[in-house]
Symmetry: none
Subunit: 190 residues, 4 copies
């Protein structure tokens, strides 16, 4: 990957993510991406050796970005309920504001493009969240359950509700989000 023009990378990322939202992972062609990014098809192969590498790279960037987004305004020193609320809201907000990236990440999880290694590796970005959950468990605020179970429970419900709303053309207002928060929070409480 010889990098000449860093701005092209950005254009490629954005085009890829947007096109995957519109056409699905398998429905997007390298030609589509290059056109949307304003470059030639061949140029794509200067930046990425092939489609899989491109998708993996974009996946990783989204993964990091989203994990980082989840921690906006959050401090490990926050009390559990404050921290949990912040992170929950960040998770929701990321999906609403960057729906295309959310869907891209979703599509990647069940795709041959994303290798098992990459998938596992990406878990590490969520460590601060696992730490928060641990604190909640240590303080007997929340149920003492497996991290994967707790996070899967929360992330799964948020994902589903947001997708349902989006594809049903019903926007999620603050009230609905607060209700979803309450569902999740009441669920994990010890």
């Amino acid at each position: 990957m010889r990098k000449k023009d860093e701005s092209k990378n950005g254009a490629i990322y954005e085009s890829t993510v947007q096109l995957v939202l519109e056409k699905g992972l398998a429905g997007v062609t390298m030609c589509d991406i290059s056109k949307a990014a304003g470059i030639a098809t061949g140029t794509l192969y200067i930046y990425f050796s092939n489609k899989e590498a491109l998708m993996n790279k974009v996946f990783n960037i989204c993964r990091k970005e989203s994990a980082s987004f989840y921690l906006n305004d959050y401090s490990p020193l926050d009390p559990f309920d404050v921290g949990f609320r912040k992170i929950f809201n960040n998770i929701v907000t990321y999906r609403l504001q960057h729906f295309e990236k959310f869907i891209f990440l979703e599509q990647c999880y069940h795709s041959p493009f994303i290798t098992e290694d990459v998938r596992k590796d990406s878990l590490k970005y969520l460590n601060p969240i696992f730490d928060l959950l641990q604190k909640g468990k240590d303080d007997h605020i929340i149920k003492d359950l497996d991290d994967a179970l707790l996070l899967g429970y929360i992330i799964g419900s948020v994902n589903e509700v947001i997708k349902k709303a989006h594809y049903g053309n019903k926007s999620l207002d603050h009230k609905k989000i607060a209700q979803l928060y309450q569902l999740c929070y009441d669920g994990i409480l010890a």
Copy 2:
């Protein structure tokens, strides 16, 4: 005269669902399916006019089968907590026993193969579940929230936890399932 071999329909369904699990909806070819079903490619087109029709048909069958499975052993006369537990367990069990169909359904929901009409139409199979939720709300057992929100919350968390477990090669034992149940149930309680 040779009659249409109805057993081929079954072979096609199973092959399709299994291959979609392995390769994704868009990654499956008609050639793959016919080979797996033990028939010639052209024969596939006797049973289904094209790939989209095939996928829609399999989708509908899975949809009905799953909805029916969810109601196993359930009676509308069951008290809310009993009925909810039965249905919850059925939802989980279906996903564990028919993981390939579960994934197939998941993939269909955000795919051009499934038309909007078919998607909406399939909601009707869930009516008994909506009725149960209504009873819970009427009896002030559970939170008085939108059906889509409640079901999205439950289904979403179940889906995510089961997929995480499957792809992480960790089987979900009865204990974990009971814990997930408790998370969901505590969440919806009024």
Copy 3:
């Protein structure tokens, strides 16, 4: 070719000719023909060993039928001008009344379905016409030219005018036909 039901032969001929008019020789499928003839596809192969054989057979029948039609009401004893007018009108009338057969014959002439042998063989049906032309030449009524040239000249102009009229949705009235006759007749006059 085991013949059981002679009426099926007729149905096949008519369907074939009509379908070729609608879809062109190469655009017609054996399935189309069998459906239009009200029989099963396999049955077609009891009557004809393959598509080429079917087309050749229909071609031959049309060829004979048309040649015979050309001689309606004609007698070799007719004076040249009378005979020529009769035959000319018959040629025109056949094309107008049996446009589908006319087009079928046209399409066959430049098709791999019709072998060279069949094409040559079919010339013999036109012998009475050649005899008439010879009489005209012997009597110094018409130009002393090659038969193929004379017949090609007449048939070609008739074919073209009738096709142009048909596809341009302009019906050929008696006046136009008389004018065409005059063109041809004046042309051949010595």
Copy 4:
């Protein structure tokens, strides 16, 4: 950067026209054409979006080329008989020298490849010929008949005679052509 190789267009045209002569319009495959043109199948689709577009393009080129050929050495100032003779000879010569294009044009006229619009549009190339016929009519040299009838009569007879000669493996010598000219000319004379 590699630029589109315009010579490929020519190779494609020639291959298409030649193959249509050999196999008929519907019998020619895109694969055939690409092989004959010395390029890959996919390359064909860089130059033409699909088979229909390719055929329409080649049709238009042949149409223009032939119409232009018909006017070789012709001047609108020529007296009628001189002009008619020139154009008649050009029409014949084009068919003899470019038999494959002549047949290609013939096949196109009754084919779904050629849209009605294209067919009608192509008539305009023949305007100088219609003008000549009008002059002949105005000067009472030829019969005062419909243009379509006059042209159909001439073109039809020429087409038929040339095809008969070609497929009967008999070359048309100058004498035969002169005879055909006399047939047509005597026919149209007032």
